[in-house]
Amino acid sequence: MSVIKRVGILKKLSLITLCLTFVAGNASGEETSQEPQTPDIEKTEKAQSAKEKKATGDTDNSAWGSEKTSGFRLAIDPKLVPANPKVPSATNLERRVLRPPTLSAIDYAAWVPRVIFFPFHLVFEYGLRYPLGVVTIWTEKNDIIAKVIDFTSFDDGNASITPRFYLRSGTIPTIGLNFAWDNLFTEGNDYAIGADIGVERTLTLEAQTKIRFWDDAFIAKLGYQFHRRVDFQYYGKGSHTSDADQSGFFRQKHAGELNLSFLPNRLGIAATSDIGILDYRFDCTWREEEEDICGADGKAGTEDDLYDLDSLPFFNSGYQILRLRGHLFWESRDERPASGSGLRLDVFGQVGTSLNDKDVNFVRYGGEAAAFWDFYKQRVVGLRLRSEFAESISRSEIPFSELATLGGIETMRGFSFARFHGDSSLIATLDYRYPIWSFLDANLFFEVGNTFDAKLADFKFGGLRPSVGMSIKTVSSRYNSFDITLALGGHRFDDRFGVDGFNVGFGTNWGF
């Protein structure tokens, strides 16, 4: 028993000894395992260069606050802190992290999602970030973009070859090249040729020259365009069309045009006009054979034609016209950062007349009136009313491709491009536009509209269709913007309630 007691006392003694040893160890650790203390600092100060010593005079240690009060000293004495120390070697590097991270429960808990989602990190880090970083840094470091621009441009940057793309929902994308040479013969005289190709015979060829005057406010442009696409759509004419009526066709266009435009740098009155010779050809080819306008057999004049092609004026024969167009508008708003409140009026018109013995003579005209209220810092509500009329001025009907249209990225945005054809059209739009970034606005819109018979003869409220959606718009000129739009279109109000169109659009937009 006494032995056991002695063992117990020994244990207690050893405990106390151990504790004291531990404390002593800590105390000695303070002196040995850490950074140099005051004596070391003094040594360090002696070792400093003259320049470094000079730097110690950066601060005034003697006159700050009330430590001058008799008998007091600062708890942290700045004099103990050497400026610009350069400590000799032989300190253990590993001990210089003064405060190793202390792990909390959150650190441990974070390992659960970390392990679960680690594959995502691997994919983004090594599948995207790392390779992209290597390529981008290499590109930047070697000025690759500038060199590419230099390689594709000549004449001090006046001439250049640039790629171009055409992308619009529901249509065939194309890719092409543009070769432009500005100020070629005289200052302000530019030339350009371009070509785009896409699948299914899609082809565009362009050539143009222009002369710029008055700080580019006035531009005269002479150009030629060949355009061939197999992605045009037709749903019938008038206000009673349905999504089920979709059909498609091929269109080929030659156009030679002289265009004059006056777009001053300050907004106000502006105008564009052109005179052109155009040649149109159509056929049944469409990108989806079952839905081409000629039906499944792909031949016009057969029983399965989706439309009576004879009722589509000039579909079979095509037409060649001389066209004169004009567009005049007045904008009361100034460019940003001026207020977005104001008015805008647009009027436009065109006359087309046949260049041969075909009886093609028509006029198209219309306008838009818009009012905008900027109720707070570019948060703008807009109300617009637009109407367009297309009329034949001869005994023949107006070519079906010259009818008033709605749909696309500018009008009735819940429907695809030129979804509606008619002798007249009417659309009212309520917009709300608000900034979401320095260079981007969001735009919520609600539109009602449709195409109708001549001069809105069959117009009735129930014949209108709704279109609602949202766009992201670039903040550039009041004239136009690049938009990405997501919108839904509905049935006529007097029809059942439901969605009849869905459009994801991108491209340049005019106005608002």
């Binding site: 120390p85 880090e125 940003r336 709300y432």
Partner: protein, 533 residues
């Protein structure tokens, strides 16, 4: 059970005793081999920080930790990154205005143009002064939009950052006759393609054609003395440099870099990115050396204006592209009034764009794109830097503005008012958010604690209520409330004790978070050994 008791005893022994002496030198200047050059891409850095880094790192569920280069007194030791200047001691306004300059830059000429960037909005030249052998970078203003601002900003900013503790180049505003610029032999320029081509005298004339001049026709510019050592590229605000064995603390865990977010906010240094830093290798005779870290370019501070006004309005309030703000604004249909909606420019501060007080919210300030160190700043880092900023007195600010040499007193007054107002906003916010009790003075039996809000002139003394506690015991009133805080008698407390203190202002409902000061008696008397915030 006995073993558990043993462990607890040991743990308590350790816990009660292990307080290290404060470390004042982070020994990171040990001789190393010269690291390789680091090249930082402007576009990639921005795209990475805004888009790709967040996309990749979000899956790692990173946890922020307190800064690591902090001693037991919550201060930052001196290092190749940082030198305690205003952090620990006062500085005269004259010394601050001198900044890192050993002597005033006096360029009488001739100056040999060795090369430079002659294209772009703000041209610059590298020149050598044969009289002293020193090399300088000359930079100029964009006179149409903001005459004097960029050069003044570059100079004043360098002094502010230097006084706060960072290393900066010696920058000064100079006026000189362009005739003293002499085209040097082999002088070259870099064009937009990155090609080096010979410079001509006309390059110099063209570059200087539109820059600011004074009434005497002398050209205004800022001269930046080349830093010592061999430049080896910028430092990053994240991670460590793998070829620098001295660099062992992740930069985002360095308190001075985290806290510099407040300096950037004060001056609106939205362009605080890695390209505006520099490291140089300082060699000794053996060829080995260490890496010294600099912050170098301050031309954007005090309201830089870009051509796109909508961008200029957002500087300091959002990243160049701020996905979270875009999404929130999109969803909220623009119903949230943003600070940039309220931005105003004043005639008396026209050259300073949107550098103002009313739209400045210190805690919401953002750089041009995410800066990892800034984003890791916690309240302790912020308090530490706010303490430094509070020590830029009005007389310092006036003196700093003098070195900007803006010849229009209306502009000078405006800048002075903005610097003072923004300083006060920062200090008031962070000193009230954490405890402003600091800077202790002791004598036998008495400890006095300063209330920095009072000593900085940010608060009246009679609006503060103090409470103290010893070793976690009952809270009580201090022995005496004095002009700049309070004093507490200490007796019969043993060889070591902890004084906890907290303060509540008249306009606050609750006391601010307490701060603990650990004291120990040694041979010299009462000694502060630890601060816990």
């Amino acid at each position: 059970m006995k073993y558990v008791s043993l462990l607890l005893l040991l743990a308590s022994c350790a816990a009660s005793q292990k307080i290290n002496e404060p470390i004042w030198v982070e020994n990171d200047k040990q001789p190393i081999e010269e690291p390789s050059q680091y090249w930082s891409g402007l576009y990639w850095d921005g795209a990475d920080k805004i888009v790709f880094r967040p996309l990749s790192r979000v899956w790692l569920f990173e946890v922020k930790h307190p800064a690591q280069n902090v001693n037991v007194l919550e201060e930052v030791p001196n290092s190749s990154w940082y030198t305690n200047r205003l952090a620990l001691a006062p500085m005269s306004a004259e010394r601050m205005a001198k900044g890192p300059c050993q002597s005033s830059i006096n360029l009488k000429g001739p100056l040999i143009v060795k090369g430079g960037k002659v294209n772009g909005a703000n041209p610059g030249f590298r020149v050598k002064d044969p009289a002293t052998g020193s090399n300088y970078l000359l930079k100029f203003d964009s006179p149409d939009a903001e005459p004097y601002r960029a050069t003044a900003a570059d100079v004043i900013g360098s002094k502010i950052y230097w006084a706060a503790g960072f290393e900066t180049p010696c920058n000064e505003v100079i006026y000189f006759d362009p005739k003293i610029l002499v085209l040097g032999e082999g002088a070259s320029k870099k064009d937009e393609l990155g090609n080096k081509t010979p410079m001509s005298q006309s390059d110099i004339s063209n570059a200087l054609a539109g820059v600011s001049k004074n009434k005497e026709g002398l050209t205004r510019g800022s001269a930046s003395l080349f830093i010592d050592g061999r430049p080896i590229g910028p430092f990053t605000y994240e991670g460590t440099r793998s070829d620098d064995p001295n660099d062992i603390i992740a930069h985002e865990n360095r308190r001075e870099l985290r806290g510099s977010r407040l300096l950037a906010a004060w001056t609106n240094h939205f362009d605080a990115r890695e390209q505006n830093t520099l490291t140089s290798f300082i060699k000794d005779e053996s060829g080995k050396g260490y890496v010294q870290h600099y912050i170098i370019d301050f031309g954007d501070i005090f309201g830089s204006q870009w051509e796109a006004d909508q961008m200029s309005r957002r500087f300091g309030h959002g990243y160049y592209f701020d996905a979270s703000q875009v999404v929130i604004d999109l969803i909220s249909l623009g119903s949230i009034i943003r600070p940039w909606d309220l931005q105003k420019q004043y005639d008396e501060g026209r050259i300073f764009g949107y550098y103002n007080i009313e739209s400045f919210i210190p805690q919401d300030w953002k750089a041009g794109y995410p800066n990892t160190a800034f984003n890791f700043m916690d309240e302790k880092d912020a308090f530490w830097m706010a303490k430094i900023i509070s020590r830029f007195g009005d007389e310092h600010i006036e003196k700093l503005i003098e070195v900007g040499k803006i010849p229009n007193q209306v502009y000078n007054k405006y800048l002075s008012a903005m610097l003072r107002g923004r300083r006060d906003k920062i200090v008031n916010y962070y000193f009230r958010r954490t405890s402003p009790l600091d800077r202790l003075r002791v004598k036998e039996g008495v400890i006095c604690v300063e209330d920095l809000l009072i000593t900085g002139g940010f608060s009246e003394s009679n609006d503060a209520f103090y409470r103290v506690s010893f070793d976690g015991k009952k809270w009580k009133n201090p022995t005496q409330v004095v002009e700049d805080g309070f004093c507490q008698e200490v007796s019969n407390l043993g060889r070591a004790f902890t004084l906890s203190a907290k303060v509540r202002r008249a306009d606050q409902v609750q006391f601010a978070k307490e701060v603990q000061f650990r004291f120990r008696y040694d041979s010299k008397g009462l000694k502060l050994v630890q601060v816990k915030r």
